[in-house]
Symmetry: C2
Subunit: 232 residues, 2 copies
């Protein structure tokens, strides 16, 4: 029986796209009117994925996600021929630590928390998840992130850590994400799964896989729908 | 400037003494009327401290605090000539995972959370702190425990882990505890300190060090007093 829900954060619980794009537009202040900010954020997110994948396993030192966002930004600014000062670039990189939740996230989680233990299972840094959750009022019972396992999702060690810390069997835990690779990795370890479609994850015209699949225990349109389907 | 507060849980935020004594009395159901339950809980807590101290450093495997409480209980029952079934002993050991907060804890923390990030820094198991916090409504922004550092307080690694996860310097973090060894260990690493007196930690007649000391940044009578002294 499901006792706890684990949530992906960047994309599933929070809207990184509009947060980061709005912050870029604000910091740019009209200096670069020709920039496709949607493409900018999409490229940045892709660079993050490449950066995470390139982190050596068991290197003995941990690479913070903030350092990946910050490190990939300089090349991205070159690519888009944008010139920002170091403080401006640093400020822009911090946008990833202030992600706004999707409108359904807080009300949905407040319903879900009445029946389940709610925790994050994010690749973002602990400090980033703590800070954005506090600002947004995301009512987690616990925050778990890749940093605590010294490995990134979909490494099995990350999911296993969460089960150990919760003191529960994988079969009693449901992984919730808008990314199928994430919940498939959890399913392979015996976790239950919920897919949440996030059509705007990469903006109004973004290419996103929204298809519901029978392989998942639940398919939901948002966190309120997830609460409905879990009888909360 | 203090940005985050770390709280000890067993004794500082929660009243293990009355919780465990009441649970023992309930499970005993009058079968052993001669037992000094105050002495029983005090001895159990002492056995826990001895158990934690005996955990080998860097053994490669983690000893859960639940297993220490459960493991020490059998000897304690023998010592007090109490005969319980295995399910009764298992149920009694779980009392340590359901500790009730002190009456000032939730209202004090709700005031403190308006200005500070609040996290636990407990030697208890992650699952125990998650479960008791959810049941009691303790409004932590994050739960950190010894299990996440694979070392018990006062090992410096535990405090250092919390600073890393919060992304803050020790000087920006205040350790709050009713146990002076705990805040002294944090102070040695540069953390700020708050001592909270808990006169009933070991029951009405318990021997507890309640003396305020100039060496601590704050001395408080409870969490409401701590909120007053931190201008919340």
């Amino acid at each position: 029986m499901t006792k706890a829900l684990l949530f992906d954060v960047q994309g599933t619980a929070t809207d990184f796209f509009s947060t980061v794009r709005d912050e870029a537009v604000r910091i740019d202040a009209g200096r670069n009117p020709e920039i496709d900010w949607t493409g900018f954020v999409t490229r940045w997110r892709a660079a993050y994925f490449a950066g995470v994948a390139a982190v050596p396993v068991d290197s003995g030192t941990w690479t913070s996600v903030h350092s990946i966002y910050r490190g990939t930004l300089d090349g991205l600014l070159d690519e888009f021929a944008i010139r920002y000062s170091e403080p401006e670039a640093a400020e822009l990189a911090l946008a990833w630590q202030r992600l706004r939740p999707w409108p359904d996230a807080v009300p949905g989680l407040n319903r879900l928390r009445t029946r389940f233990t709610l925790a994050t299972l994010s690749n973002a840094d602990v400090s980033a998840v703590v800070n954005m959750s506090k600002t947004a009022g995301l009512p987690w019972d616990a925050i778990f992130t890749a940093e605590m396992a010294q490995a990134f999702k979909p490494d099995p060690a990350v999911y296993a850590m969460a089960a150990t810390y919760l003191g529960l069997r994988p079969a009693d835990i449901m992984m919730v994400a808008s990314h199928k690779y994430d919940i498939r990795a959890a399913a392979a370890l015996g976790f239950r799964t919920a897919f949440v479609a996030r059509p705007l994850e990469f903006g109004p015209d973004g290419a996103v896989d929204l298809e519901f699949e029978d392989e998942f225990d639940i398919n939901a349109t948002d966190f309120e729908d997830l609460a409905n389907k879990l009888d909360c």
